[in-house]
Symmetry: C2
Subunit: 344 residues, 2 copies
């Protein structure tokens, strides 16, 4: 199944810069905890089993296509498969999130990390891509994703989720050489990983810089952007690349300069301002506040229309500004998707 044979290709056409009949729509974390069927699988299988078992990953990935009606699938996986492939153990502890029992804190720790061929170390991801593509049967495209090297470093050094990742940032400021070496190692394996994912069948790649917004605009150009650019340069010849940094409104022009096929924005930037920062021709993606999906449905419909108008209606992919929340009623998620589909 090649990209050109996909039935609903509105998402791919928008990424090529074409003017589409309406904005394509999908939601970050669309195969997530707000879906009752997902919760059933969550109760039955631990997190990494869902990620590592291709049948389960496929089942989860395709859920929102039928149940919510989005225009693209995104492979159910986790950004922390990369540290795992580097031989850095990651545990997912219910109610607490990811925990890295032996975080990276020195050059020696960095030197111990391995960078095996992603195709082998993460063969279960490639298998999940292949089974998902079969299951989708050309209905919609499939996005594959990775975390930005900076965001992966945050977890590997901090050892767990954090409000400010001050240990990770302290590592960069006090041991810059080790930090850059770590970032380059993550970058190398991530490039290899994303190329393999495209090879296995992913139609589009999205890079998530979930913790980019913890950096100052100047530090972003030191610790995050150069590595994202390497990834964009390497993957762009193979597939469209979407760059999304949470809280990174100041990096939109850098994403554009890096040749992003689309740029994700969160809701801390108004659609008008985002458009102003990148111009009319750049494809933008976002930026509905996920918690606003708790509004009454008529408010959601009104706000979605306002958002699309704000982005100018074209060169635009409708999405949330971050992942959908577990407490969103499925009907409200559907209302979001339908409001985009009914836009005129």
């Amino acid at each position: 199944m090649t990209t050109s044979e996909i039935k609903n290709d509105i998402f791919l056409r928008a990424l090529k810069g074409e003017i589409t009949e309406r904005p394509p729509v999908w939601m970050m974390r669309q195969a997530g905890r707000y879906l009752p069927d997902f919760m059933k699988l969550k109760e039955k299988y631990p997190f990494f089993e869902r990620v590592q078992n291709p049948e389960l990953a496929t089942e989860i990935t395709i859920m929102p296509i039928h149940q919510v009606g989005v225009d693209t699938a995104i492979l159910f996986s986790d950004i922390l498969v990369i540290p795992q492939a580097m031989d850095c153990e990651v545990q997912m502890i219910p109610g607490r999130g990811p925990v890295i029992p032996n975080p990276i804190r020195s050059m020696a720790d960095v030197d111990r990390l391995i960078t095996p061929p992603a195709e082998e170390a993460l063969d279960y991801v490639m298998a999940a891509v292949r089974t998902t593509k079969q299951a989708l049967n050309g209905s919609v495209p499939l996005i594959g994703f990775a975390g930005s090297p900076w965001t992966i470093l945050c977890y590997m050094v901090e050892g767990q989720g954090s409000k400010d990742f001050s240990v990770a940032k302290g590592f960069c400021y006090s041991q810059p050489e080790a930090a850059h070496k770590l970032l380059q190692k993550i970058t190398d394996i991530t490039i290899d990983y994303l190329k393999a994912k495209v090879q296995a069948g992913c139609d589009v790649i999205q890079v998530f810089d979930s913790w980019g917004g913890l950096l100052s605009p100047e530090d972003y150009q030191i610790w995050s952007m150069p590595y994202i650019k390497q990834i964009a340069d390497a993957v762009r010849p193979l597939a469209p690349v979407i760059l999304f940094g949470k809280g990174c409104w100041y990096a939109l022009d850098s994403y554009k300069a890096a040749g992003a096929s689309a740029i994700g924005v969160d809701w801390t930037l108004s659609p008008q301002k985002a458009r102003e920062l990148v111009g009319e021709q750049t494809v933008l993606q976002g930026n509905f506040d996920p918690s606003k999906l708790l509004s009454p449905i008529d408010v959601i419909e009104r706000e979605v229309k306002k958002m699309i108008d704000g982005f100018g209606g074209k060169h635009y992919i409708a999405n949330l500004g971050h992942g959908i929340l577990p407490n969103i009623p499925v009907d409200h998620a559907k209302a979001f998707v339908n409001a985009v589909k009914n836009y005129h």
Copy 2:
């Protein structure tokens, strides 16, 4: 002791819009966990005892004046004394942060909250202001602070700290009438509280909108700014008011329009951009990344100089962009303060 009798009044002069011989300097959370003497008191007394005992609050407040050399004191207290005064229980659980056992979730919950005279309900704060002013003996000014109504609502509704305060935001989007009534109640008691603090001796007031950055620019004007403006309007005739919103770069012009004596900025906005947004005459305060204090001292010195230059050197108060972190060596905090004092 009146404001005019303060020996080191560089901070007050900067707030009046005067050109000072160098930027005044202080640090958010300067009386905090990075100070070994603070840690000794922390081990001995539970959190709210330190807040409620005027002698302890005074001892903690004046610590950084002598030990780090900042140009102003800020009263050791907590923004959550306001919910407590409203008869909403707050527990401070070590390692977990604030917990509100009975969070606000309905109009009935809002209606049950009381708004007693702050002078009586928070008499221990007024006592702490008076003993601190005595202990300072006119050496430096004293800042009193409060959380913004939006930030207080976040805790009162969510019931605990959170990455996204999605329950609190969901409350606003699904029960807007109850949310606005709650915000107004918090605003009323906060105004009363801050007036009493100035009456008791505080020379300056700072309002912290710690969670303002969770809102879109448009929602900020609905849920946060109108209430901050009420506070600024009420307190400004009595004392200078500093407005600081974490992640609220898009609200700088609103803070300016609200007549802020100074506007705090975090490090996600470059000094140059902050200056560009508010103009040459507006006093700005910030914005060193606290985790950057883990850099070697010569790097701190260089970066501080660059920051001050970026703000244009005048109409400016040097500070961090958020609270100082527990893992900062005292010598590095001193290096920050001294780098400002040695600026030329």
